[in-house]
């Protein structure tokens, strides 16, 4: 579904990714781990099409399409979703209104008509219950005055509403207490399906206790340096990222 080959990317002219390869198939959950500054979030943002994140070399194919020239809204239309590390506030725009506009924009991109209002209300009620979000928050301005946990839950609510094919979750666990982490994980797990792939960017193994990945990749200096299954995350937890780096040095 997602095929990243020899990806080099710069963030505002600073090279961050330096030849990254990643293959993600439908139904799989991949965890991207690595020390601060290794390029985890950059990968997620490059795939989502964030302005200022420039691909300088390599290819990014999604469902067989080269998405490098598409803007963020086109990629969203193709089914790519990014759960933000720092969800943005949009004053004066209600959560509901934003979601409605988003759903209808995606439908329009796919040549479908607008979602009937009643169907939308039913859907949002259902999905809000999934992430245990209060109705009142749906009417409030997007992320304005939300706690850290509420913002992250809001990201998962949006993901549940927009039903992406490829979900990129950028440090969704950061700043969450254990209760919020459980709720968020429950939401994410509910969305796992054979048609949908997920890429979890995380710094800590903790998230992977709740969302069990099929693959774990370790990023260092803009490249994937080690891949494995869930046990790799546990090993990392135990030995720390320095272990990988030492191993790399020995190899060279």
């Amino acid at each position: 579904m997602l095929s990243v080959k020899n990806l080099h990317a710069s963030v505002f002219d600073t090279p961050i990714l330096k030849g990254l390869n990643l293959e993600v198939n439908a139904g799989e959950v991949h965890a991207i781990m690595g020390p601060n500054g290794s390029g985890k979030s950059t990968l997620a943002n490059v795939v989502a099409g964030r302005p200022g994140y420039e691909i300088t070399e390599g290819t990014v194919e999604y469902q067989g399409k080269d998405i490098r020239e598409m803007d963020a809204s086109e990629r969203a239309g193709e089914g790519v979703f990014l759960a933000f590390q720092y969800p943005v506030e949009i004053p004066g725009v209600s959560n509901m209104a934003m979601l409605k506009a988003a759903i209808n924009s995606l439908r329009k991109y796919r040549g479908e008509g607008e979602m009937p209002a009643a169907e939308f209300l039913q859907l949002i009620k259902e999905k809000a219950a999934l992430v245990e979000m209060k109705q009142e928050l749906l009417k409030r301005s997007v992320n304005e005055g939300f706690s850290g946990g509420e913002k992250k839950r809001n990201e998962i609510l949006q993901m549940a509403m927009l039903e992406p094919t490829l979900a990129l979750l950028d440090e969704t666990d950061s700043g969450l207490d254990i209760d919020a982490l459980k709720i968020v994980s429950k939401g994410v797990n509910a969305l796992r399906s054979p048609e949908r792939a997920m890429v979890l960017v995380t710094h800590y193994q903790r998230l992977l206790d709740y969302i069990v990945p099929d693959y774990v990749h370790v990023l260092s200096d803009g490249k994937i340096v080690k891949s494995g299954d869930k046990s790799l995350a546990l090993e990392l937890e135990e030995k720390g990222y320095s272990w990988i780096e030492q191993e790399l040095q020995q190899a060279s």
Binding site: R50, S73, V88, I90, M98, A101, S105, L162
Partner: protein, 484 residues
């Protein structure tokens, strides 16, 4: 052509002559030649067949105007206006009627479409012949019947001068004195037409005074004059303007609007202004110098101004409320947008005189392109105004890095019991916000529109429902090409 020249020559001759009572009544030209002097004022009054008191009023205003100077304190920049190069009277012209919308400029239709203006109304705006049912005359008649059944008077002020001279005499310039400012004096001397509204005691006006206005306002001319009086315990919501783009060959517009609210009366005045703003280089475009003021004359009165200003090359406008009675309330909600080379210096004045008076100011300025947007507001608490309260919020939104936002708040407090709050913010549409919304599937334009409309929400919700929707679309259309 020769006929017009001929007439103009005749007029010039006449204008040069000494004034002799009644001599002008037989003039039949459509437009006076440029220039302003006492005779021109007399001709205007005579053309309108006005009663003597109106002529005296105009002449008094003209004489004051001659001694006044153009205000130069506003944060706007434009070439000096030659007031002798303007024609001060033009009879409402019959535009040639078109047979169908096919004959209308497709660009104009496209804009109407984007604004969501109903088809029949599009025809009226574009001067296409309409079905009998929608003919403005019959619409007007229906409205008039409903209104007169309620005792509401709603007519052009030029008619009110004849039909209700006592009311006009009593209230005209009772809120905005002729010498109030340069443009108010000019307007008082030469005003063309406008609306007159009178709501009797205890009457709640049975409809928004809006649709009527949209259909009939086309020819009020460049010096508009409006007077609204709400008697004790009455209520009226008045809507001025039109989201449809309005062009006018007259560059200078100087309107005066006066509102009088008696005991426990409420007047809600909403404006959507979309005059031609000029091209992207600032060529052409209307200069809009407006004086709007409401008087909460007696206890418990309330006046609120809501404005959405997207048009005009230059806007100079400060809708104000004088809180004379005790427990009176004044409100000002404003969205002012400047794009390309537009300039706006706009805000409000809240003058607290009575006890327990309160005022609210919510101002939203949006600047894009090379637009310059200034908020200028005065909150004045006079000695006797015990326990006065004011809340002011001035927010500016910048798009791009070539525009400007400025805030000039003035506060004068003469009573220690006053309670004033002022908040001001300046923000830019951030790349993060745009990316966030685009990542959710919105196009860049839709994302900008959503952010801007969110920014203006507190003002839009004060507008009558239908108009709020149109106002949102108007912002979208006005901001086209502002990003990227």
């Amino acid at each position: 052509m020769t006929e017009v020249v001929e007439k103009n020559r005749d007029l010039k001759e006449l204008v040069k002559r000494e004034y002799k009572e009644g001599f002008v009544t037989d003039i039949e030209s459509d437009t006076l030649p440029p220039g302003l002097n006492e005779d021109v004022v007399r001709i205007i009054s005579a053309k309108k067949n006005e009663p003597e008191f109106m002529l005296e009023y105009r002449l008094k205003a003209f004489r004051r105007w001659q001694k006044m100077r153009e205000p130069e304190w506003a944060h706007i920049d434009y070439p000096k206006i030659d007031f002798q190069d303007i024609s001060y009277y033009s009879a409402p012209k019959e535009m040639p009627k078109l047979e169908s919308l096919d004959q209308v400029d497709p660009k104009l239709l496209e804009t109407y479409e984007k604004l969501g203006i109903p088809l029949e109304e599009q025809k009226m705006l574009a001067n296409v012949a309409v079905d009998a049912v929608f003919d403005s005359v019959s619409v007007r008649t229906t409205f008039r019947e409903t209104l007169s059944a309620a005792g509401v008077i709603f007519m052009p002020i030029s008619e009110a001068v004849h039909e209700h001279p006592d009311l006009v005499k009593k209230y005209l310039s009772s809120v905005v004195p002729v010498q109030d400012n340069y443009y108010a004096a000019l307007n008082s001397a030469v005003f063309s037409d406008g609306s007159f509204v009178y709501i009797p005691k205890g009457v709640r006006c049975p409809m928004e005074l809006s649709t009527y206005f949209r259909i009939n306002e086309m020819n009020t001319g460049q010096f508009e004059r409006t007077l609204i009086i709400a008697e004790e315990g009455s209520y009226v919501s008045y809507l001025e303007g039109c989201t449809a783009p309005q062009r006018d060959e007259n560059q200078l517009h100087a309107a005066v609007v006066e509102l009088v609210a008696h005991k426990d009366a409420e007047i809600k005045y909403s404006t959507v202004q979309n005059w031609y703003p000029g091209d992207e280089n600032g060529k052409g475009g209307i200069y809009n110098f407006v004086t709007k003021r409401g008087l909460c004359k007696e206890d418990g009165a309330k006046i609120s101004w809501t404005q959405v200003e997207t048009g005009s090359a230059i806007t100079w406008k400060y809708p104000s409320v004088v809180l004379q009675g005790d427990n009176t309330v004044g409100e000002f909600y404003s969205v002012a947008l400047t794009h390309n080379k537009q300039q706006a210096d706009t805000g409000t004045k809240m003058i607290h005189m009575g006890k327990n008076t309160s005022s609210t100011i919510i101002s939203k300025g949006i600047s894009a392109g090379h637009g310059q947007n200034s908020y200028r507001g005065l909150v004045k608490i006079l000695k006797g105004a015990d326990n006065a309260r004011n809340f002011s919020q001035c927010d500016s939104l910048l798009m791009g890095d070539r525009c400007g936002a400025h805030t000039f708040p003035y506060v004068e407090v003469q009573n220690p019991t006053a309670n004033l709050e002022h908040e001001a913010t300046t923000s830019k549409i951030s790349d993060d916000q745009l990316f966030y919304l685009m990542q959710r599937g919105l196009s860049e334009e839709a994302a900008v529109s959503m952010i801007v409309n969110g920014f203006c929400k507190e003002v839009f919700r004060e507008l009558p429902m239908e108009f709020a929707v149109e106002a949102q679309k108007l912002l979208d259309v006005s901001l086209e090409g502002a990003v990227g």
